[in-house]
């Protein structure tokens, strides 16, 4: 197994870890963080594929690398918007929980 393949398996694990955190964490900020972790795992997968596509005297496929740079920026824009929404929600309600106010229906997901 080459180091690049190992890093590829690692990024697959990171994506799975991020997905798990996104689903299970009750705190919205932790969900945003886990979503970023999920994204970074996917970006690293791109990096692994780009590295394998090394040709024409380049260390990797520049098209995939450029797409990743674009992806990083879009991920940051989405994160900034999500954090702004969360803080505004906190200002408006004084709480940062996504749990419905009434407890009796919390499990079925209905308010």
């Amino acid at each position: 197994m080459t180091p690049v393949t190992l890093l590829g398996l690692c990024s697959a694990a990171l994506a799975g870890l991020g997905l798990y955190g996104m689903v299970t964490h009750p705190h919205p900020l932790r969900k945003i963080l886990a979503f970023n972790l999920f994204g970074s795992g996917v970006f690293l997968l791109f990096g692994v594929v780009a590295r394998r596509g090394a040709a024409a005297d380049l260390g990797g496929d520049p098209v995939l690398q450029a797409l990743t740079i674009t992806g990083l920026v879009v991920a940051f824009a989405a994160t900034a918007l999500a954090v702004a929404l969360l803080l505004r929600f906190f200002d408006a309600t004084g709480t940062a929980t996504l749990a419905p106010a009434a407890d009796h229906d919390a499990d079925s997901g209905n308010p």
């Binding site: 990096g47 380049l58 990083l72 702004a84 499990d107």
Partner: protein, 302 residues
């Protein structure tokens, strides 16, 4: 390296304190930047260190500080064990599918590198990644700027009525002898030079308008946090023009391409390099202003 990445990621997901998780995430971002260098993608590494670790870290840290009171909710919210187990199952399945995709990647690997290199000569650029961003796949880069503009508009429109069109964040009282104030006076001259250099050098070496713009934005936010400069009101016309300068010039050059070359965003070979520089300079300004305003957040006061 792989082990360290996984350990920090597990820590960031499982640790109780939100603060510790955010700091672990920033450290994780720096490690990912090192992984990008190992993958021979120095341009991506610079962007990851600047945006993925730096800006996202600062953004999450600021939010964690604001939300500190909610860190230990009075009635701890627990995720049901059943949901937890099924989430673990689904996540493991996704990770296994991605891992299998890596394991069974086709051999030899498909690549667009020769196609990208073939189009480099017509741009006058020496860095293939910049050539892809500015010429080969310029439409992606233009749309990404528009996503940034939309994010800025979105953040600004979250302002409460009393602060509509106002200034983001709190006004910091400068502490003239404080260490922050010292750094905010000493660092910006260097930061501005380094930021512009990163943009300029990207033509032939790793760099780019994004790492450069991030450093400029960081200098601006540093001055705002030290109380040396107040955040501008978001209704300011000059601020809005600065936000739009990059995308507007980029689209204008794109439409110009329909007239003087043969397609939208095509550059005539003789003027490719000057046109790309003409796009990059306003772009650097717009990126710096947009990232700074995204960090500053929702308008809070007039």
């Amino acid at each position: 390296m792989v082990v360290l990445l996984l350990v920090i990621a597990v820590f960031a997901i499982t640790v109780r304190s939100t603060f510790a998780a955010v700091i672990a995430f920033a450290a994780y971002g720096l490690l990912v930047a090192v992984a990008w260098v190992r993958l021979q993608a120095v341009d991506v590494a610079l962007t990851e260190a600047a945006i993925g670790s730096g800006l996202t870290g600062v953004l999450l840290l600021g939010a964690a500080a604001r939300l500190r009171a909610t860190d230990q909710p009075p009635r701890p919210e627990r995720t049901a064990p059943g949901l937890r187990a099924s989430a673990a199952g689904v996540s493991a399945a996704v990770a296994a599918a991605l891992g299998a995709a890596v394991w069974f990647l086709p051999e030899p690997a498909p690549t667009l590198a020769p196609a990208a290199v073939a189009s480099i000569d017509s741009t006058g650029l020496g860095n293939p990644v910049t050539a892809v961003l500015m010429a080969y796949r310029a439409a992606d880069t233009l749309l990404e700027k528009i996503v940034l503009v939309l994010a800025v508009v979105g953040v600004w429109s979250l302002a409460p009525d009393r602060a509509w069109g106002g200034r983001p964040g709190t006004l910091y009282r400068p502490d003239a002898d404080g260490v922050l104030s010292f750094f905010a006076r000493v660092l910006p001259p260097f930061g501005v030079v380094i930021g512009i250099y990163l943009m300029w050098t990207a033509a032939d070496h790793p760099g780019g308008a994004f790492p450069g713009g991030t450093i400029l934005a960081a200098m601006w936010v540093l001055a705002m946090m030290a109380g040396l400069a107040d955040a501008p009101p978001v209704s300011s016309v000059s601020l809005r023009w600065l936000v739009l300068a990059g995308p507007v010039v980029f689209s204008a050059v794109g439409f110009l391409g329909m007239a003087i070359a043969d397609a939208f965003l095509a550059y005539p070979v003789a003027f490719a390099k000057p046109l790309i520089v003409a796009i990059e300079i306003p772009m650097l300004l717009s990126i710096a202003v947009m990232l700074g305003m995204l960090l500053a957040g929702v308008p809070q006061r007039r």
